[in-house]
Symmetry: C2
Subunit: 569 residues, 2 copies
């Protein structure tokens, strides 16, 4: 179903206009035939030795050809009649196709494979220990060429793990025909980390993430994967680490909870799970710096150069913070705490031992409506290490910086967190304020975020085919204010039309984004300036331009999002 | 104090550059002298008969001169030394001044007085039954010429009633010197209303209000009075009536309250006051159509042509709606009411007997934080008839349309109010939606409003003196989101500076506006495009321009506010 829908949303080129390279695709019969000895995903030791003379990107004879197995996929997509006609046509033209390499295959290192990332350099990928040249398949990839290119030069597994559509026999069969080599056995060994490096213990990450900083690790999913699904897969969820990822032994983990007039609690992970009802909430988290790169194009700012992907959505499970505070004794004895705060500290620390910290107003923590969690689950799994294993705060509708990860303490306090990140960061200022004049005390710490939206497809500068254009994106607002409308313009903001909002699992709760789509005519040879802007349930809107919201830290970048494309003649 | 502050904020022209006409102002001695027989505010019968031949604006001999009594005011303002020197200079030049008219004074009708509204036609005002020509005082008015001109052609009392600074003996003495006539006795009689007119029973209104529609009555205070005080005087509070003002006999008034699973209540005004604790909240109300005139300049819209004054602030007192719903039996027996509503109906009805109605989400009504009232007090007085006497809903942070006036029923219901104003009005749409394509069901009813701000001084097109310019305005946001910053630009939005926010009586509650002020250099001979924009506690901002938010009903007009002025050379 997913596969079919992905293709339905994508206009395949007319069969008579397929690129020449595609002629190999259906060169075999409609029945796939395996090649003995070339088991995809096979054990390294089971493959023959490498050929010393086989340099990457080298010999003409290594160019793959005669790929079989595409026909069944196309059959599923286009209907069997069309494929038979297509197969017949291709079978005839395939008579000129070159023969594929045969075993024993040449051996390549991962570094060599990594040099093949573009159609010009050939597009290579690995699966198990096999190396494939999928250059000719790129344009035919049912999910679109952009998506398959995300894996170019590396392993397919991390992507296939996310998109179950690939777990079908005919996909492996299709792939088999593109095999051009095998990985050198030593490449299975893990490179030992530098033990002096505080980041040496960081977990492995998904290769699709766009890394803005590796130490600490800060990365976002590419736009075209961002809106692929309503819930962002954990592996692709944007990661905003301020410090090295702490290694936490779940058995000895303790969360300290302190409330005024109460007794301090020290909760094990098991106690947190057992003593409090599990509450689940689907919520989007966004970094205050999302879309900072657009702000820095206006004037330079200090901060990581985030694109539009410092935002993701998950279903979170955990104990309600409210329940935990009440269990710790919060109540009438706590006194007048009207303007108090809940301070979180993480187990992640800098070189001096200072932890990451942040706070939220106590009112929000105690509100049943606000659904603040001490979360230990993310999309039905335990929290990944990069996202706060074993427990993080999860504050729906609020800037990600307050959803403190690797939580070690929760303290109700008359003051906001004294942390640098609460006091001297994550605040907005007038565009005239610079690093000489800034007074961080003059602005409130960002909590709820303003309404936001961005275009994830097409990509900026893309050449899109004439005909019907599909524009996709996300929209979200802070404070539980649900997105009620997204307007899209194709003429730079002169005229607008309303996008279709995708289904949302929990209407009315308003913590999660809306994915949206607009289909519109793209006349041949034109240039389109696509713009989007969202409206939330308080009818707040995004500002037209970045100039009026520019600030020295480059936070709160939520101007209309603009993507220019050309329509091919 | 108020007077002094008002003057301190206003730069008086240098004494040597006073206009010629001002020479009469301090012509008398520094000790005021009353003129016997010309008692200001005297009884109509106590004044001598009018002179038949005295036409308004007519005879040269009627031009007032020799006004005395300004010096004490100026002494208070400028310090006695400056005034003595000024008085001396003026005493000499006053030798050429014309003599004032003496009793018996000419008689004028109110219609005749009303023709004198500008310095060119002379500026006349009345106080009691006396008529004054204050043309020469206009430029010297401590509150600024704009303010005194609001009363031009009419009575001073409604304005003086609002600004207690005028209730001082020297003010009356000052005025006495400008007397030029008396009102004709028959003008005390009230014009009888047309009894067939459903609006005949509407109450009298303050003449300073700018009337956008008289039947039903819709009017706003002029910008320069809007930000004169944090709480808007009841008489100047913007009025948005959809229907004729009902006449309610407070003794027989009953409010019906219905909740599911509860017993219907029928509360008298006395019961509402007695049975429930009085709760007070300072809250700003704004019409959804505030600033519609800017939207209609972009493209025509349907609706009253509001300026920037369809917004006002008062301190409201009444019973909490929550308390009343609980008293009516709302509770566990009411069942699953998560997404229910509270529907209000007014006593104001159209020709078919259909009342005004609106609703708010039940969640808001039940929330202690939201402070929704059944209000019977406005700025410490009983509600004025135009504002819902004897009881209105008061929903802080929400569009004024939901604060139903002349409340007759409060019903908890699974559906929103079926009223026209809830279903087919007060909703926002994409700019492309027109009256042919609009589907009112496609948009949610406006509840919380987006962040807003506007410039109240200087006025658009004004010529301001070179030197220091003071820009004033208001800023507010819906949903209790406090305004945290107002940015002001003098160059059309290229560069910005931060305005000073005035004191707010209840920080953190966020229901009321912030008044703000910016002082900046205004170089001689320049043209300034003043722009303001506000930021609320969720860091929501206003859109740059009206194009992207334009909608067929002209609601939600909250683009950057722009006022162009020229600086005199």
């Amino acid at each position: 179903m997913l596969l079919l829908r992905a293709v339905a949303g994508r206009r395949l080129p007319p069969l008579t206009q397929l690129p020449r390279g595609c002629s190999r695709l259906a060169a075999g019969s409609a029945t796939p035939e395996g090649q003995p000895g070339a088991t995809p995903g096979g054990q390294p030791g089971a493959t023959p030795e490498g050929q010393p003379g086989a340099t990457p990107g080298g010999q003409p004879g290594a160019t793959p050809g005669g790929h079989r197995g595409a026909a069944p996929v196309l059959a599923a997509l286009l209907g069997i009649g069309a494929v038979l006609a297509y197969g017949e046509r291709q079978r005839r033209s395939a008579q000129a196709a070159q023969a594929p390499p045969s075993p024993p295959y040449p051996r390549y290192t991962r570094a060599e494979v990594a040099q093949h990332r573009t159609p010009r350099d050939r597009v290579w990928v690995t699966y198990g220990t096999d190396v494939f040249d999928v250059t000719e398949f790129v344009e035919l990839h049912p999910g679109g060429p952009d998506k398959i290119l995300l894996a170019a030069g590396g392993a397919l597994e991390p992507f296939w793990a996310l998109y179950a559509v690939h777990s079908q026999p005919h996909v492996l069969e299709l792939l088999r025909d593109y095999k051009v080599g095998e990985l050198s056995p030593e490449d299975a060994a893990v490179t030992p980390g530098d033990t002096a490096d505080p980041f040496a213990g960081d977990p492995p990450r998904h290769p699709a993430l766009r890394v803005n900083s590796s130490k600490p690790f800060n990365a976002e999913p590419p736009p075209e994967l961002l809106t692929q699904s309503f819930l962002t897969p954990n592996e692709l969820f944007f990661t905003r680490n301020h410090l090295p990822v702490p290694s936490v032994e779940p058995g000895s983990y303790r969360l300290r909870v302190e409330v005024p007039g109460g007794r301090a609690l020290s909760l094990s992970l098991a106690e947190l799970r057992r003593r409090f009802p599990k509450h689940e909430v689907t919520a989007t988290l966004q970094c205050a710096g999302n879309r900072r790169s657009e702000m820095s194009r206006e004037r330079p700012v200090k901060g990581l150069d985030w694109g539009i992907g410092a935002i993701s959505t998950a279903r979170w499970g955990g104990a309600r913070l409210r329940d935990v505070l009440l269990a710790a004794g919060f109540g009438e004895k706590s006194g007048a705490t009207e303007d108090w705060h809940v301070c979180f500290e993480g187990l992640d620390t800098d070189a001096t031992g200072t932890p990451y910290g942040a706070s939220i107003p106590l009112k929000r923590a105690l509100s049943g409506e606000a659904e603040v969690l001490l979360a230990y689950e993310m999309n039905g799994q335990e929290l990944p290490r990069d996202h706060g294993f074993p427990v993080r705060a999860l504050v729906p509708g609020v800037v990600g910086a307050r959803s403190v990860k690797w939580l070690r303490s929760v303290v109700v306090s008359p003051s906001e967190s004294p942390s640098h990140w609460q006091q001297n960061d994550y605040k907005g200022f007038c565009p005239s304020v610079d690093w000489d004049s800034v007074d961080f005390r003059s602005a409130p710490a960002i909590q709820e975020l303003p309404v936001q939206s961005a275009i994830t497809e097409p990509r900026p500068g893309a050449a899109v085919p004439a005909g019907e254009l599909t524009v996709k994106g996300y929209a979200w607002s802070g404070g539980g204010r649900e997105v009620i409308r997204v307007d899209v313009s194709l003429d730079g903001g002169r005229t607008w039309r309303e996008a279709a909002l995708g289904p949302r699992p929990e209407r009315g709760r308003g913590w999660a984004w809306a994915l949206w789509e607009l289909r519109a005519a793209a006349p041949a040879g034109t240039r389109l300036e696509i713009v989007c802007k969202a409206v939330d349930s308080s009818y707040n809107v995004q500002p037209d331009s970045v100039g009026g919201i520019w600030n020295l830290r480059g936070v709160l970048s939520n101007a209309w999002h603009r993507v220019g494309v050309t329509v091919t003649p």
